[in-house]
């Protein structure tokens, strides 16, 4: 039953451009980008027990590096992508060392502070980043010579990358490393007593999360063909965090649902409802009251309950 549903979903996703207009295909691309970002954040929040409010750092930095290398220094997209991801991952490694000095609220604050520092630098170093005008006139890469300029072609590209990201991150959390990560999340002292190195486990997760955050940043800048300091803002990080929690932080599918929810409310419902910010807040309140661990766990519990009831 589950496999049929999954297969149908895959077919639906692949065929989306053939029955939906460009606007909806573009919306789907944006959801895929937000999903990768949310999944990477979930490694930290859901599986690592580290609530970060600065994850936009990785999205923004990767985007900026790619934008600068391609538009100002004449790099091709391939080398620029490699350098962006490498740079972002190195930064995540460095930030991880600082951030992991604290836990809980302190960790949240450091991640927030680090992203704010980057945000401020993006505005202030306007010789490099063009400040609040942002960097415009960017291009999309042409993997294997295929143009990504049309809505459909970009969508399929994003779908491939997102599927790969999902796969890699799911393997990560289901592996034995993932188990030790969950162990560190739940019982750090016991894990240490058993001979694990909680700090190292957390740090590796932090770096891996930063890596995929960077990947989402590349897709983001390819999609928008523009980058601006707001992508590094706390709002950007907060929306992702909210999506992860609302969708269900300990689950592989939760962040996808949560990211889609936030994006659709922001970009789609806002056309019909002027007070969409308030609606967003109310939806979050509702989710937490009715499904305290998130939408996906809530729905699966509902499904289990129905199945049990119908027996």
């Amino acid at each position: 039953m589950k496999w049929i549903a999954a297969a149908l979903l895959v077919i639906l996703l692949l065929l989306l451009p053939s029955f939906a207009g460009d606007f909806y295909v573009n919306l789907a691309s944006q959801i895929l980008i937000a999903a990768i970002f949310a999944l990477s954040l979930n490694l930290l929040v859901g599986y690592g027990g580290m609530t970060s409010l600065g994850h936009a750092s990785y999205l923004g930095v990767a985007a900026y590096i790619s934008a600068l290398l391609t538009s100002r220094y004449g790099f091709g997209h391939g080398p620029a992508a490699v350098l962006s991801i490498a740079g972002t991952t190195a930064m995540a490694a460095f930030f991880g060392v600082i951030a992991l000095r604290a836990t809980g609220l302190g960790f949240l604050m450091i991640t927030l502070a680090l992203s704010q520092v980057l945000w401020g630098l993006a505005y202030r170093m306007s010789n490099v980043t063009n400040g609040d005008n942002g960097i415009a006139g960017l291009t999309r890469p042409m993997p294997f010579g295929i143009s990504l300029d049309s809505a459909a072609s970009f969508y399929w590209f994003a779908l491939v990358v997102a599927s790969f990201a999902y796969l890699m991150m799911t393997i990560f959390v289901s592996s034995s490393f993932g188990s030790s990560l969950k162990g560190v999340r739940d019982q750090p002292r016991r894990m240490a007593a058993l001979g694990f190195n909680p700090w190292m486990i957390r740090w590796i997760t932090f770096v891996y999360a930063g890596f995929w955050g960077g990947v989402s940043g590349l897709l983001y800048v390819y999609y928008n063909k523009y980058i601006h300091p707001t992508s590094l803002s706390t709002t950007s990080s907060a929306e992702a965090l909210l999506g992860v929690i609302a969708g269900g932080s300990g689950t592989p599918g939760g962040p996808l649902v949560g990211a889609a929810l936030v994006l659709l409310l922001k970009n789609y419902a806002s056309a019909y409802i002027e007070r969409w910010n308030m609606l967003l807040g109310l939806v979050f309140l509702f989710i937490v009251l009715v499904m305290p661990t998130g939408i996906v766990p809530g729905f699966s519990r509902l499904a289990t309950g129905l199945r049990r009831g119908s027996r």
Partner: protein, 415 residues
């Protein structure tokens, strides 16, 4: 206070049924309505301007019974939330989902820059409000025009006035630390120093500055302080300027958004006598504005300012262009040509468009005064036919880099 989209569309429907009963004086090329998209930031920190934009547009269309050049009009308003990614999505929504024929807005420079390539690719006539200099200088698009002004365009006349008529010698500038503030202060500095004055200090305040106290305390003594601020930052700064006792020592002058009408209504006597410069004032004496300002004030209880005036002027120019094309919006090139060839009497005066798509029109030096018990920007001098290049040679101007925090270099700073 704001009109919900549903309300507006239904009112359009009602009005259009009434409109169909009126005789068709102009042959409409197509039976469908003209669809205009309005990109306004209705939430977020820029909300004040975005809300005004929508109100003015709604009023403009209602006055004309939602008919321009004999054809029904449908207005679709999209909230960009003041974020570039959202602006892009909304632009896509307007173009791909709502099939609009032209766009008015957006408000902020970075919103405009985020969607510029997309609008050019889709060939959508865009009548913007954002003041970013380069959009009509070094990176113009054939599909973009701006009926308001560039960031520095209105600063030049004020600098000229300060040097020649007020005889100021030393001025301090303060503005928000983003491109708009940089460009405006750069233009002011250039014109002021060309006339023999000196800018002795340039302060740029970070974007999220809740308290201006430490900045007020840094201000060096000079003849005047020039405010290149936007939104309500100008008035918050002035309040603290007065509290620190500086208003008695230095005059205050400001750019086009420093003391906008929307901000003035919340101020008191402390604002009297402050000079600002803009391409508009609600007190303008021409026949079109007398009607518009009074109607706006009657309906919304405050005077129209930069954003309301900007959208209204833009709509007037659009209407004139539509009359030229006899209501045809499907031929986008023809519409764009008509817009770019405009020479229209509007509420700001006569507006023409230069070859880069920017407006050439009057710039007014205004002084805050009290009239009918409320504060207004009363006009004391008009500089006619001001272009974005002021008195500078166009080619030389464009060879220089775009105005920024460090260009033109400030050579007279006192340390």
């Amino acid at each position: 206070m704001t009109i919900s989209r549903r309300q507006f569309v239904s009112s359009v429907g009602g009005a259009s049924i009434a409109g169909m009963a009126a005789p068709n004086l102009v042959f409409a090329q197509n039976n469908g309505p003209i669809r205009i998209g309005l990109l306004a930031a209705k939430t977020g920190p820029l909300a004040s301007g975005g809300i005004d934009m929508e109100l003015a547009m709604a009023m403009f269309l209602k006055e004309r019974e939602n008919t321009l050049a004999g054809r029904k009009v449908e207005l679709i308003v999209a909230d960009t939330a003041g974020a570039p990614a959202t602006a892009r999505t909304k632009a896509q929504e307007l173009i791909e989902k709502n099939n609009i024929h032209c766009i008015i807005g957006p408000l902020a420079a970075f919103e405009a820059l985020a969607i510029a390539d997309y609008l050019t690719e889709k060939e959508i006539p865009t009548l913007g409000v954002a003041a970013a200099e380069d959009m009509t200088q070094r990176h113009p698009s054939p599909w973009f025009v701006r009926l308001t002004s560039t960031s520095a365009q209105c600063a030049y006349p004020l600098a000229d006035y300060s040097a020649k008529e007020l005889k100021y010698k030393k001025i301090v500038t303060i503005a928000d630390d983003f491109a708009y503030g940089h460009e405006m202060c750069a233009g002011f500095q250039r014109s002021f120093e060309d006339n023999g004055g000196k800018i002795i200090q340039k302060i740029f305040t970070p974007l999220a500055t809740p308290d201006y106290g430490s900045y007020v305390a840094q201000v060096k003594s000079a003849d005047a302080i020039f405010l290149g601020t936007a939104g309500s930052n100008g008035f918050r700064f002035i309040r603290q300027f007065i509290e620190y006792g500086l208003k008695d020592k230095m005059a205050v002058i400001g750019g086009m958004t420093a003391l906008d009408e929307s901000v003035l209504r919340n101020m008191g006597d402390e604002a009297l006598g402050i000079l600002t410069t803009s391409w508009y004032s609600a007190e303008l004496d021409n026949p079109l504005n007398k009607v518009f300002a009074a109607a706006f004030r009657k309906q919304f209880k405050y005077d129209p300012g930069y954003y309301a005036g900007g959208v209204y002027v833009t709509a007037e120019v659009l209407e004139a262009a539509l009359k030229t094309t006899k209501g045809n919006v499907e031929d986008k090139k023809a519409l764009m040509t008509a817009i770019r060839g405009s020479s229209v009497e509007t509420v700001r005066g006569l507006v023409k468009i230069d070859e880069f798509g920017n407006a050439i029109g009057n710039v007014y030096i205004r002084k805050v005064a009290r009239s009918d018990g409320r504060l207004v920007n009363s006009v004391i001098k008009t500089y006619p036919d001001v272009s974005q290049f002021w008195t500078y040679d166009k080619t030389e101007f464009l060879k220089n880099p775009v105005y920024s925090r460090d260009y033109p270099p400030a050579k007279n700073l006192e340390l």
